[in-house]
């Protein structure tokens, strides 16, 4: 079990400002989760906890860490390799099987209603989202270029902006769907 003092040291390494430190802590948690998901094919809370525990312990022991983000990566990579080794030892080299994707009709209907509601809440960004995801192939590329030009930003910046908006929209829809359960 890690001590509160050790966790405090970790937070202080993220930032001297506590609020910012907590934000960075959470952002690192998301990165670690995605890293293991993309590498191993499943949601790996235990691996994330393990990576956090190891880094926190090292900091508590006074190890001089030059770059915290890189250090987190090196620890995560080691945890990943250990998992692979365990899989080999247990002759379990396969990733989890794909999950079948077919939402029940009722849920589909509710999701559409929620999406409608959330889109209406995104008054100023609604048009950007709808236009960004409109069209196919060439038409889609042209539309996105036009959107980027209108906003005087690069296509790459537009992609990131649309991705952030979509994430918020996804969250809003997910939240709204809870009412139908």
């Amino acid at each position: 079990m890690l001590t509160a003092a050790a966790l405090e040291k970790l937070l202080a390494r993220f930032s001297p400002d506590r609020d910012e430190a907590v934000q960075r802590y959470e952002a690192m948690r998301v990165k670690l989760t995605r890293y293991f998901e993309w590498r191993l094919g499943y949601t790996p809370d235990d691996h994330v906890d393990e990576a956090f525990n190891r880094v926190t312990r090292r900091i508590d022991e006074g190890e001089d860490i030059f770059n915290l983000n890189s250090y987190f990566y090196s620890v995560a990579y080691r945890v990943f390799l250990e998992t692979l080794k365990k899989r080999e030892e247990q002759l379990d080299s396969d990733r989890p099987p794909p999950i079948p994707v077919k939402p029940p009709d009722e849920e589909k209907e509710a999701r559409l209603r929620c999406l409608d509601k959330c889109l209406n809440e995104f008054a100023s960004d609604r048009q950007l989202i709808l236009t960004y995801y409109e069209g196919e192939k060439r038409a889609k590329i042209d539309l996105r270029k036009k959107l980027a030009d209108e906003r005087k930003i690069s296509l790459d910046a537009l992609r990131i902006r649309a991705c952030r908006l979509r994430k918020r929209l996804e969250e809003c829809t997910k939240e709204c769907l809870k009412q139908f359960d």
Binding site: V22, E26, D45, K108, L130, S154, C163
Partner: protein, 319 residues
Amino acid sequence: MAESNDTNVVATRYLLGTLSEEEAAHLEEGFFADDVTFERLEVAEEELVDAYVRNSLSPTDLEQFKKRLLTTPRIVERIHFASALANKVSNPTSLEQKSPAKVVERQPNTARWWESLFGRKLSFAACIALIVVCGLALLTGWIRLRHESEQLAGERAAIQKQKQELNRQADEERVRTELPSNVNGPDRNQNDNQQRVSRQERRGSVVGTMVALNLMPGLQRSAGAKSELRLSPQTSAAQLILMLESIDYKSYEANVENDDGRLVFQKHGLQVNAASELTLQIPAPVLRPGDYTVTVRGRTPAGGFEDVADYRFRVMMMK
């Protein structure tokens, strides 16, 4: 621009697992160091999900997508959302009708309809009369609600008092049953002390660096008084013991959200113990003073999730 396209291609290939180990490690080091690189990967994931929904992945990419990404409930959830979004985008008519601009356009027509039926002055008088009637109805309703809420508050206070009295009696009873252990030698005494610590933990008091709290589904919400989790600067983690009413699922996920609805902690693959409880350990740094909701969902055999129960608690910081 060309560089950005290259980055996107590399990100997509990483997600599909077609980069060499060296290239993958290079990209990973980059996204740990830099948030924008990480966001580019999230964009690439989103675009792969969209391409899957639109059936525009090549057979090889589709194979890799299923093998590498379609193995987590998170991606399945993203696919459901992407399908809904694609549906909306390809069917803009329903959205157009709800757009604020169209609502504004329709207002003058509504006014003309009233005016043509009653005339301008009569319409005005009718509006005033309607406002007065509605106001009276609202006032009556408000008075009735206030009266009912006063009654409810009285009842709640009585229940709370009753509950406190019961707790006090239970504590007294506990002390009475624990006292004789002191005469049974040091070993027995130590064992009893451990049990007391364990009980204290489960009631939400701070013990060492860990604080634990028992939560019942729904109860805290209906009673109005939330269970309190008291953290001190020495607390390193909080352990929530979530009691389940039924155990219909092999595994569960728990989402902890603060009062703003922001997800502060998430845990997958939780297993029920012999006492039909889930144990959720949360690092103390993610908990700030305030109200929290834990939503527990059970994993279905098809890989989806179903809501099981909500729990509420309040975090308080002790000096």
